[in-house]
């Protein structure tokens, strides 16, 4: 199936208008009908009123990224069409200009284009009287007086009109809508279904004949689930037995803590909202020393505050924490609800001094799951902080995937001390060992009393400033990284997708995995054979292996979502190989498949300067 056969559906509207519900319901309905969906959202740092949109790429096969074009747009307001033209400074042009030729727009006839607005001859405009449809449905329940308040159901009208136009299975959608209104909200189910039906009928009757595209059920869901990175990380923490999750609210990380806290009854995890991220990371470290698997999740601003704590975890060899860093646009508050991959150098170096730590970058929801699970094992095995670096795109985008395979996952708590039979003191928490790992006791363990300090210390954990001890102790700590580099399976360090000797080797890390894989598939159909080297373990960096792979390539192109080419620089530092061609992007939006493809083609033509992508 070519990309042309994919359907790109989008819903746009002011924040607070419920586009999430419409988009996620449609995602579920497509999945239940055997289709695949990749869904991503863009929104402002605002609660009500600013423009947001949700885009679904619906296909018969798995898709891992979004496309630039829109085939069917639901516009809940005029801004979705033409941009924020009501503002003194226009900041975006809406989505009319993104429409594919032959595409269609379902818009609210009460809030549609104004005279003089841009228009497109090659796009079908379908006006839908949102208010009338809502009123009709409300009348059936004698609630027309509430039409003002219940405008919140315009999202359901947008969904209904889309389903009617596309001729998708209305009963299936009805069931999914009803499932969403359980418990206290059950009374709303009927009303929502009625609104949905009205809208679907309206669109089907008026517009379907002049719109050729149809969406049909392919079969069952095949057991697939719709998964975001946030949920994947949450589930991994639950499976890994994370006992304490600390956090300070921040986009887009908070959702993960909410996820854990709302499932506390079934899977107990103490979730603590702290006074700041300094406290969040330190509380988790304190718990780790006391024998609990502990974690915290944040984005750039919070991670900045955690720096000193990470150093303390490093020197005291705390068996944790696992820190999930969801990158967003920086520095400072930057683009707080937008995407970027610009914190990686910081994650590698945050805090003063030198200490062992692990930094790992999963590329999608499945890898978030596996990686987060292993992160707890590594934190305890190597007694060091582990940072899982991901981003807003991975955190908040849905894809339809098979349920996680958990049978191969084992909890490994590392080298735990054996209490002396005598119960006597004298335990050496920082015993010098060959592989750098000293057996650990937990605060509270009998016979395991130890001291520890952020000051340099001896094997007992008491402060010692001698040069000799410093050399031995620092070497011991850093040796743990050598051990980790030997023990961590290569499959978790990097992945080569496709043959090493392909015409082009694309190099990337983190969430560019999706758009790169989709783009190289498309390039293949255009006669360009490309492979993808995905870097996953960034510290300890598998320099030798990566050098070998890179040397086999005929040409390489680096793709990353930051200004500086941060991991490109890391590769050069660690392997001596300079990946000359760079496709990068720092406009606060994730790479689309199209941008990656175009960028690669540009770089193949000329590598004189990097390709800066920004379609948005």
């Amino acid at each position: 199936m070519s990309n042309q056969a994919d359907l790109v559906w989008m819903i746009g509207g002011p924040q607070g208008s419920g586009i999430n519900l419409a988009a996620e319901t449609l995602t579920r309905c497509c999945m239940r009908g055997g289709l695949h969906v990749f869904a991503n959202i863009e929104y402002h740092s605002n609660i009500k009123g600013e423009h947001s949109y949700y885009r679904l790429r619906i296909a018969k096969e798995r898709r891992r990224s979004h496309l630039e074009r829109v085939d069917l747009l639901v516009a809940l307001d005029r801004e979705t069409l033409v941009g924020d033209v009501h503002k003194s400074e226009v900041t975006h042009r809406g989505h009319l200009h993104e429409m594919a030729p032959g595409g269609a727009i379902l818009f609210d006839s009460g809030n549609g284009p104004a005279p003089g607005d841009p228009s497109r001859e090659d796009v079908r405009m379908f006006p839908v009287p949102f208010r009338d449809i809502l009123l009709e449905a409300l009348r059936m329940y004698g609630r027309e007086g509430e039409v003002g308040k219940l405008q919140i159901m315009y999202n359901v009208i947008g969904l209904g009109a889309s389903i009617g136009l596309l001729g998708y299975d209305q009963d299936l959608v009805t069931r999914v809508i009803a499932e969403g209104f359980k418990g206290r909200k059950a009374a709303l189910a009927d009303l929502n279904v009625a609104v949905f039906r009205r809208a679907a009928e309206y669109a089907m009757e008026r517009f379907a004949t002049s719109y050729p595209h149809r969406l049909s059920v392919l079969g069952g869901s095949g057991g697939r689930v719709m998964m975001r990175g946030i949920q994947a990380v949450g589930m991994a923490k639950i499976l890994a037995g994370c006992g304490l999750q600390t956090y300070y609210p921040i986009t887009p990380a908070t959702d993960e803590s909410d996820y854990l806290e709302s499932r506390q009854g079934q899977f107990p995890t103490a979730v603590v909202q702290c006074e700041d991220e300094i406290s969040a990371v330190l509380m988790a470290i304190g718990a780790a020393h006391a024998g609990v698997r502990a974690s915290t999740s944040t984005s750039g601003p919070g991670f900045s505050l955690m720096a000193e704590g990470l150093g303390w975890a490093g020197i005291t060899e705390a068996p944790g924490p696992v820190v999930i860093l969801y990158q967003r646009g920086g520095p400072a508050t930057g683009l707080p609800t937008r995407h970027e991959q610009a914190d990686v150098r910081f994650a590698l170096h945050a805090a003063h001094g030198e200490f062992p730590r692990i930094v790992v970058a999963p590329g999608d929801a499945e890898e978030c799951f596996r990686t987060t699970f292993e992160a707890f094992n590594w934190a305890e095995r190597y007694q060091c902080p582990v940072t899982v670096i991901t981003d807003k795109y991975t955190a908040s985008s849905y894809s339809t995937i098979p349920p996680f395979e958990t049978s191969g996952l084992k909890i490994d708590r590392g080298v735990v001390f054996t209490p002396p039979k005598s119960g006597k003191d004298g335990f050496l928490r920082y015993k010098f060992t060959k592989n750098g790992i000293s057996p650990r006791s937990r605060l509270g363990d009998r016979g395991g009393i130890f001291w520890t300090s952020g000051d340099e210390h001896n094997e007992r954990g008491h402060i010692v400033e001698s040069a000799e001890n410093r050399v031995k102790m620092q070497t011991k700590r850093m040796t743990k990284l050598v051990t980790a580099a030997k023990e961590i399976p290569e499959g978790m360090m990097w992945t080569l997708h496709g043959p090493a000797d392909a015409e082009v080797m694309v190099v990337g890390w983190g969430s560019t995995k999706g758009p790169i894989l989709d783009a190289i598939e498309e390039l293949e159909t255009q006669g360009v054979a490309a492979s993808f080297l995905q870097l996953r373990l960034l510290l300890p960096f598998p320099g030798d292996a990566v050098r070998k792979v890179l040397r086999k390539a005929k040409t390489h192109v680096m793709v990353e979502g930051n200004y500086g080419g941060q991991v490109r620089g890391l590769i050069r530092e660690m392997t001596g190989v300079h990946v000359r061609r760079l496709v990068h992007k720092f406009d606060g939006r994730p790479f689309s498949q199209d941008e990656v493809r175009e960028g690669i083609l540009q770089q193949l033509k000329s590598a004189r300067r990097p390709a800066v992508m920004s379609h948005a």
Binding site: G265, I285, G444, G447
Partner: protein, 309 residues
């Protein structure tokens, strides 16, 4: 009851001769010895400063943290293991300056832990700058100029932040201090013991002689015991919101009293639900055993995956 020798370590103590910290260390050692808690169930956390070295001199789990950060680390340990007796110690710069945010949040949280602050009016380990407790207008010997900011009132701050046991003592009155620390540890909830501590090296105003009142006409100490004067700090009916407000107000008023002599003793005491108890109401597992002892292996994600089907 442990022997005093059992709670000491052989670590060399490099505090200045005559430092008030020695008195606090003695009181802590005696309190720990009397506590009737096995040594491995006690963990002492400290910040950075002269005072930060304290855990190394105590033969229990000893965690020397960062400047101003002992409280969140101590809180994490307590959350992980509710059976631990958690004591945090540190300087006044550590607790009321750089760590002030954690101080307030710790009070609000009301985990069952004890915080002992070494209040010497100066930053000892960085050579005598003014600490947040030094009154406006004062100048200790290594300060280039007098302080032009107001001092913090830790007692009032603690009461208002939500500490449920707030007391003050004097480092060279080891008996009173030991008794106060013991009461604080035994109090179920977050307890503050602010300890007036001479720093003979840098604080030439609040010396041992000053506190002894050597220079006053009646030669009486510059502190008096609140409880001996009949001050009632204890909330008798924990459910009585009115009484809580009255006792808090009385404690704050007492701390603001001023005058020639500083009150020491308990300013406020209220037994109310701890953070741990409230968390256990949501996570019944915590009522049974410490989080650190729970076995979370073999979990089945099926119900979570079903939500997303």
């Amino acid at each position: 009851m442990l022997k005093l020798e059992e709670v000491k370590t052989d670590v060399f103590n490099d505090w200045c001769p005559g430092c008030g910290d020695f008195g606090i260390l003695s009181a802590l050692q005696q309190a720990i010895a009397e506590l009737e808690v096995p040594r491995e169930k006690i963990a002492v956390f400290s910040g950075i400063g002269c005072s930060g070295k304290t855990p190394h001199f105590l033969n229990v789990y000893g965690i020397h943290t960062l400047h101003g950060r002992s409280l969140p680390i101590a809180a994490g340990a307590k959350l992980a293991n509710k059976d631990l007796t958690v004591i945090a110690v540190g300087g006044d710069g550590d607790g009321y300056g750089i760590g002030a945010g954690h101080f307030v949040a710790t009070g609000r949280r009301n985990l069952d832990l004890t915080y002992v602050v070494f209040n010497n009016g100066v930053y000892g380990l960085t050579k005598g700058q003014s600490a947040p407790t030094l009154a406006k207008g004062l100048r200790t010997k290594s300060m280039p100029a007098p302080a032009i900011v107001e001092a913090v009132n830790p007692i009032a701050l603690a009461i208002c932040a939500g500490f449920t046991f707030v007391a003050r003592s004097y480092s060279l009155s080891v008996k009173h201090l030991k008794a106060t620390i013991l009461a604080a540890i035994r109090h179920p909830g977050t307890a503050l013991v602010d300890v007036l501590q001479p720093c003979p090296t840098y604080n030439d105003l609040h010396t041992k002689e000053f506190w002894a009142g050597a220079d006053t006409p009646d030669k009486k100490p510059r502190w008096y015991d609140l409880q001996q004067e009949g001050f009632d700090a204890v909330v008798r009916d924990p459910e009585d919101g009115g009484e809580v407000v009255r006792k808090k107000t009385a404690g704050v008023m007492k701390s603001l009293e001023g005058g020639e002599r500083e009150p020491v003793g308990v300013f406020f005491e209220w037994k109310t639900a701890t953070y741990g108890e409230q968390l256990a109401a949501r996570m019944p597992l915590l009522a049974e055993k410490p989080l650190a002892e729970a076995d979370f292996s073999g979990r089945d994600l099926t119900p979570l995956l079903a939500e997303l089907a």
